[in-house]
């Protein structure tokens, strides 16, 4: 697709750092985003990287803006190449424009680019060596870029003082010197006209900077998570790491399982004993969990699954993004049973939906998935403080008595859930078909009743409890564009830029089961469109199945190259 040049008032600036893994892109990016946020700028950071520990070409985009943005864009206002592969890499993926200013060492800027107008050569390494070591070049680079935005110098100094405190006063001092050198260079560049004035908001200074990984992890803790068992797999591992690092503080049992089969069986065992467990995995790991998912369905044991999507099949593109596992989750497990799936679009969603997943799983004793993806998890931006004041955890466990029956057929379809050791009763669960006591049965009438309970009645309850999609954009739209999960921000921004007054956005943060209002909403639109990060439009298929509304093939914007949608691509689609 042809990139669209954005014709609008520039209120945000895209800085792209590019270079090999291990060169310090993260260090510079972390400093930029924190110091700019502390200066009152909105910041959004997203990463794309290769599946290797060192080398390759990775990029980190920081968007500095006067208002909240949280989408990837192709536009690069300032490119900071850290090695020779950086500029060709950006050019290859349409991320380098005529207007892009390049700030870097001569060695990192290929000859054919050095003749350009907007190239500013800065000898970071040489300057760093003068300070005693080339390790300071990243701080110098950060100082240069921050100065272009007239960032709060004290905020920069405070950041470095805190960040390097553990390494001793000398390291702090050297970094402060490096920063000041960068500031001097930055001032020279601003006097040459390379300056970016972005409106600031005082309130932003007090905001948080969270990644999708952080938001999911915090949401889990808020959901009462006290057990996590997982096998590491990108991009889901961050949640396991986060919870492990906070395990003593919050009383979380952490089990780095031998495989994903063990992980989900442990999660189910933990819930059986009354813990609130999460398993975090990606598509390949979830494939191994299918058997366990079915066990949760049969035993009516709650389980929360964080399914961090990345491109498949098989190992696919391990570090890239895709929305390719929706059908995988919905169709996973042998046999038929109820389940629900959330797909956060914002950090707010990621926190609250993860928290909600625990309550929902507990309330109906079903598996609940949170479908994220690499793009959401590895991106971070500033958000207001999360308000915890009204939060509580739902209580669903009962104290059992002598007559307790784990699978009692009740009026509402949910059997009271007891746990072993809490009350006079016994808790018997079974993966075979079972009677109300939990014991194996081959009574086929009982079988039918249990299926109605596990599947039909629970699906009814889950549907009644489902979250409606969010409608935004045009007030009375002729056209509706559907999106789900992490595409929320890119759709919002593209819709605004497109200036389309005839188009509304229908964003789903719960993708299964669908809220009953969906069929009506879609039925009222003259035209329905969809954008998805997969090759087969999986969510369109779900919508078709659930509502009868079919999104025409020509109205589908599908991307499956491993990258998230860029704002430009979506604008192009909306205005095609």
């Amino acid at each position: 697709m042809r990139p669209v040049v954005l014709a609008r008032m520039r209120r945000d600036v895209s800085v792209v750092l590019a270079g090999a893994a291990g060169q310090g892109i993260e260090t510079v990016g972390g400093m930029l985003s924190t110091v700019l946020k502390d200066s009152g700028n909105n910041v959004f950071t997203t990463r794309e990287f290769m599946s290797r520990i060192r080398g390759g070409t990775n990029t980190l985009q920081v968007r500095v803006s006067s208002h909240r943005v949280a989408a990837y864009c192709l536009r690069t206002d300032i490119a900071v190449p850290l090695d020779r592969t950086a500029i060709p890499h950006l050019a290859k993926y349409s991320r380098l424009q005529e207007s892009t200013a390049i700030v870097g060492e001569a060695e990192a800027v290929p000859e054919e680019y050095q003749r350009r107008d907007r190239v500013h050569l800065v000898e970071f390494t040489q300057m760093a060596r003068e300070l005693g070591s080339k390790v300071y070049s990243n701080t110098i680079a950060a100082g240069v870029i921050l100065t272009l935005f007239n960032a709060d110098r004290d905020a920069g100094r405070a950041y470095l003082t805190e960040r390097f405190a553990a390494k001793g006063p000398e390291v702090v001092q050297k970094n402060l010197e490096a920063y000041e050198r960068g500031v001097m260079v930055g001032k020279r560049l601003t006097s040459e006209g390379l300056i970016f004035q972005i409106d600031r908001e005082e309130s932003v200074k007090e905001e948080l900077i969270l990644s999708g990984t952080d938001a999911v992890s915090l949401g889990a803790i808020a959901g009462g998570c006290n057990f996590v068992s997982s096998y590491p797999m990108s991009p889901s591992t961050g949640v396991l790491t986060f919870l492990a690092q906070r395990s003593q503080e919050f009383g979380i049992v952490v089990d780095q399982a031998e495989d994903e089969i063990a992980a989900i069986n442990k999660g189910i065992g933990a819930w059986y004993a009354g813990a609130r467990a999460i398993v975090t995995t990606s598509g390949g790991g979830f494939a191994l969990m299918n058997e366990g998912l079915s066990l949760a369905g049969m035993t009516e044991t709650p389980i929360v699954i964080h399914l961090a999507q990345r491109p498949g099949p098989a190992t696919g593109l391990p570090t890239r993004t895709e929305q390719g596992d929706l059908k995988h989750f919905l169709n996973a497990g042998h046999g038929e049973f109820a389940r629900a799936a959330f797909a956060p679009g914002t950090l707010h969603d990621a926190f609250h939906l993860t928290r909600r997943a625990f309550d929902l799983a507990d309330r109906y004793q079903v598996p609940v998935a949170i479908l994220t993806d690499q793009f959401l998890l590895d991106s971070s931006w500033n958000v207001p403080m999360i308000d915890l004041s009204d939060m509580s955890t739902e209580k669903h466990l009962v104290e059992t008595d002598d007559a307790y029956r784990r699978y009692r057929l009740t009026h509402d379809g949910v059997s009271p859930r007891g746990v072993p050791g809490h009350g006079a009763g016994l808790v018997v669960v079974d993966s075979d078909e079972h009677d109300e006591d939990g014991h194996i049965t081959e009574d086929l009438r009982v079988r039918s009743e249990m299926v109605r309970k596990r599947l039909h009645r629970k699906m009814e309850l889950l549907r009644r409890d489902s979250l409606p999609p969010e409608v935004s954009g045009a007030k009375k739209p002729d056209r509706l564009i559907i999106a789900w999960g992490s595409n929320y921000h890119v759709m919002r921004e593209a819709l605004e830029i497109s200036g389309r007054t005839d188009t509304g956005l229908l964003h789903f943060r719960q993708v299964y089961p669908l809220h009953e209002s969906v069929a009506g909403m879609l039925g009222d639109a003259d035209e329905v469109m969809i954008a998805e990060n997969n090759a087969t439009s999986q969510f369109a298929a779900v919508i078709h199945l659930e509502t009868g509304v079919r999104v025409p093939d020509s109205n589908r914007l599908l991307k499956y190259d491993g990258m998230p949608f860029s704002v430009e691509e979506v604008v192009g689609f909306l205005n095609r």
Binding site: F227, A273, G274, A277
Partner: protein
Amino acid sequence: MESKEFDIMDRVNYDIAWCPGCGNYQIRTVMMQALAELGLRPQEVVLVSGIGQAAKMPHYIRVNVFNGLHGRSLPPAAAIKASNPHLTVIAESGDGCMYGEGGNHLVHTILRNPDITAIVHDNMVYGLTKGQASPTSRRGTPSPLHPADRQGVTSEPLNPLALAISLNASFVARAFIGDQEQTKDILKKAIRHRGFALVDVFQPCVTYNKVNTFRWFKDNTYYLPDSYDPTDRVSAFQKAIERERLPLGVLYVSPDRPTFEEESGVYDTDRRPLFQREVDWKKLEALICSMKSAT
């Protein structure tokens, strides 16, 4: 506590799905006696099993039951214990379930050392699927898939005791259900042991294993003498790899290994099981507040 407290049969009209003469019946009797003699209440015991004939055991004993998937009894058992250390958690299943489908879980459960007991009914054959070889089938044993005219089973049998000792399991024992008193004694020691305990219980399959019969087990086993020191790992390993006559009793004890629950740190200052705990909103708020900078 009396053994009948654990007997579900006089409370429900239950159809036991084992063959007449199966060793599982005696293991059931011994299990109920062991639990009673240890002074446990049914409410504080959880029996976890996988799939197979042995795996039906929890349904025939009056305790809490988690009857899960084939080969998967150990992961949920460990998780149940980690979620509530006050419970007595016993995983019980057959040799196919524990050593075949669940082999990887056995290895890693031994390494983690949760305070649970694994009781493996070892009859050296797959009974429920009608007589195929199991991981512990002896070389040369005929099976539907390893006909006698083609030498029978050609794989080396798994040696669960040697495997467990090589992994420094904290308690390794073998029993033969032909001797109920001794089996009960071993089971009691295993359940009482703090840390992961593996008990391999010889139990003949009267329908499908015509080689390893009651007689065969009787003739091919012997008890370790009272003078035997189970904390000596090298001699334990030597005992475990004996091939002529197979030793019975507690082969190995590694008494000082901390358990998985202890290592988790979650119970250091708070003994309550996880289901009794609340979200610490104050701490969470402090954590969220600390995330004003991305470092």
